[in-house]
């Protein structure tokens, strides 16, 4: 596989000025797109470093596809700028931009065979050596044997790879992927995620990937930006976003969270004390995303897999935040883990995921348990925010 690392550059050459690629990454500045009746993207600022795999994650209608289309030149921004390195491409025609797109549902040319689909960009730019470049690219996506077939004769996964090859062969400075895996079934999607990630590492291009699938975004991208209602809620490495969400939307959209109402009691060093339904729990101040003056209302957040449950009175390995009085209200055995719902004295049901390590028996519905978690894992969010933001996943494919 090592020789195909050069596949996209071979024959593609570079006609974008003598300096070749700018290497400065993609920058969006106060990018705004208004349609007749609503604002799709609101003053977006974004810096995507060259060579990174960047995911724009959000529910449908959050503006992520519009952002992508503006970068591709298929949509004109209402205001703001798009720069690629030093070059302002805000008003550049799509066919002049060093940017290529893998379209949702692929948009392969049905009248051209696979070879000609992949060769399309090179032929438009009058490249020589089209044949070896296309052959190398088809080898990269493992479709050499399908070169003379029409797109309709290929399976969904193969069409997906043709779409990828057709964009990659142009050696763009930024490759845009618009929900590229949305039409594939779950199993194929997982293997294509790994495949695309592998190709990105091999070719080293900047990938900007738009998706509503949080697992896909976290698996593939170095950096994820969670987008909601036209703005970016939070951006960072997947683990950072997951472990330390700043808003209820991110806490709920990226995985699941228990959000428990509480009141800030005060600060002790770099720990914030919160009165949570009568129990005082602590949260590291670095994970408190609100003003931590006493009396401020807050959401204490904790991921279900970070919550431990134990027999009443048993010592739990989680000093500090231990809450008694839980009653198991539902048990779902999932195989690798067991998912419990625990009704707390204040009426809220907490989600608890426990690995099936076999070290402990399964609890049954109706049993009383103590609940606890390590303070380091908790996070504190502003009570002004809607605790159910981002929980409606009805638009997602199951």
């Amino acid at each position: 596989m090592s020789q195909v690392v050069e596949a996209p550059t071979a024959g593609a050459g570079d006609d974008r000025g003598t300096g070749g690629r700018t290497g400065g990454g993609l920058h969006l500045r106060s990018l705004t797109k208004e349609f007749a009746s609503f604002t799709a993207v609101k003053s977006l600022d974004l810096d995507i470093p060259s060579g990174s795999f960047f995911a724009l994650l959000g529910p449908s209608g959050c503006g992520k596809t519009t952002t992508l289309r503006m970068v591709a030149g298929l949509e004109t921004p209402t205001s703001g700028t798009i720069t690629l390195g030093e070059r302002d491409i805000t008003w550049e025609k799509p066919y002049r931009r060093p940017v290529n797109t893998v379209f949702q549902n692929y948009a392969l040319f049905p009248h051209l065979d696979i070879f000609e689909n992949v060769a399309f960009g090179l032929r438009r730019r009058k490249r020589s050596d089209v044949k070896p470049a296309v052959e190398q690219m088809l080898a990269l996506v493992e479709l050499e044997s399908q070169a003379r077939k029409k797109p309709a004769q290929l399976s969904g996964g193969q069409q997906q790879r043709v779409a990828l090859a057709r964009a990659l062969i142009n050696n763009p400075e930024v490759l845009l992927l618009d929900e590229p895996l949305g039409a594939l079934d779950l199993k194929l999607r997982r293997s294509m995620q790994i495949e695309i990630k592998r190709i990105q590492t091999e070719v080293g291009l900047t990938f900007v990937h738009v998706t509503h699938d949080q697992e896909e975004a976290m698996t593939m991208a170095d950096t994820v930006a969670v987008m909601n209602a036209g703005v970016i809620e939070q951006m960072g490495a997947p683990a950072e976003l997951y472990e330390n969400p700043r808003t209820t939307f991110v806490a709920n959209f990226l995985g699941q969270s228990n959000l428990i109402e509480g009141t800030v009691a005060g600060r002790e060093g770099d720990v914030v004390k919160v009165d949570m339904q009568g129990t005082v729990v602590s949260v590291p101040s670095a994970r408190a995303h609100l003003e931590t003056t006493a009396g401020h209302r807050a959401w204490v957040g904790i991921r279900p897999e970070k919550v431990l449950i134990a027999e009443v009175g048993e010592v739990i390995d989680a000093p500090g935040n231990s809450i008694p009085g839980g009653v198991i209200s539902d048990v779902s055995f999932v195989g690798v883990s067991t998912q419990y719902l625990v009704r707390m004295p204040w009426g809220q049901e907490l989600q608890v995921f426990e690995q099936n390590t076999g070290r402990r028996r399964l609890f049954r519905t109706g049993e009383s348990v103590d609940v606890s978690w390590r303070p380091d894992y908790a996070f504190l969010l502003d009570h002004e925010q809607d605790a159910s933001a981002g929980t409606d996943r009805s638009d997602l494919p199951s």
Binding site: G73, Y95, T101, F103, P110, F120, A167
Partner: protein
């Protein structure tokens, strides 16, 4: 794999139930019954008249309508027809081709606009395209005669602009006949073109732009090839009736613009020369058939036939 391989063996341990004796599959005749009405209709109103036409074209040219004709296998009728009437025949093909070409340009632009740019006006525009059919072909062509008349505003305007000379006219010229043909057959071009263009996914055009095709190049590399089925059926639907048309030449032309349809009509109804009229009709049919076959083959859209 092992599981699937062993399962049949395992299930065959108890004596397998003998399959019920398979009924002889009855041949499904529904399709043939459905064909029957149309086939009968064509047999009575196409095959029989065509046979009679073919026979007429080989009658003894010495006969007449009153005295009756003898069947004499007179292939000489065809020679006579070509010698006497090759001019209107070639003229018909020429007028038909020019009218079809003009229809294609006008129709493509219109169909493209309706399919891609009309938005919520799409249906209204489509209705406007077929609206002329609400009035008779003959009446519409007669109104063109009024429109193009010597002191009408069209001629006046063209004379004012010096496109036409002071005594120039439009009626009784090829321009009038071709204009009439274009007008009358344009909807037959627009509708198949629209059906084809409307099916094109606009994202394909976007993809072409994304892959460095300027709009013009993108059109010829993506939109045009994908609309070819509409182009082929539209040109056929225009060219075939236009070549055989005689109303436009009759009303808007003069003897100098006589098309083959006028000649055949004249031979049948006025001159009473059935054999030569028949020979011309058969030749026109065969000629168009050959042209269409060659054309469709060249366009690579055999699946349309």
């Amino acid at each position: 794999m092992t599981a699937t391989a062993t399962r049949p063996a395992g299930s065959s341990a108890p004596t397998p139930e003998p399959a019920p004796p398979a009924k002889r599959p009855r041949r499904n005749l529904t399709g043939y019954w459905l064909l029957l009405p149309g086939a009968l209709w064509l047999a009575v109103f196409f095959v029989v008249p065509f046979y009679s036409l073919l026979a007429t074209s080989l009658y003894d040219p010495g006969g007449s309508v009153l005295e009756g004709y003898d069947m004499s296998w007179a292939f000489g009728n065809y020679v006579t027809a070509i010698q006497e009437y090759w001019r209107p025949l070639v003229r018909s093909l020429w007028y038909g081709a020019v009218a079809t070409a003009i229809c294609l340009v006008l129709g493509y632009v219109l169909a493209y606009a309706i399919a891609f740019k009309a938005g919520r006006w799409k249906n209204l525009m489509l209705i406007l395209v077929i609206a002329p059919f609400f009035t008779s072909f003959l009446v519409r062509t007669l109104s063109w005669k009024l429109l193009l008349r010597d002191d009408g505003f069209v001629v006046d305007t063209l004379q004012f602009l010096h496109v036409l000379g002071a005594d120039g006219r439009l009626l009784a010229t090829p321009v009038a006949v071709i204009a009439g043909l274009v007008y009358n057959f344009l909807p037959f071009m627009v509708l198949p073109l629209y059906a084809s263009i409307d099916k094109i996914d606009p994202r394909l055009v976007e993809a072409a732009g994304d892959l460095y095709a300027r709009p013009f190049v993108g059109f010829f590399k993506v939109t045009w090839p994908l609309s070819l089925p509409g182009v082929v059926s539209g040109t056929l639907l225009t060219f075939i009736p236009a070549v055989g048309d005689y109303i436009n030449a009759q009303l808007l032309g003069s003897p100098g613009q006589r098309m083959i349809g006028n000649v055949i009509q004249n031979l049948f109804t006025d001159a009473g020369d059935y054999p030569v009229a028949g020979a011309l009709s058969v030749m026109l049919m065969l000629l168009i058939l050959v042209l269409v076959l060659v054309y469709v083959r060249r366009a690579g859209t055999e699946e349309l036939l």
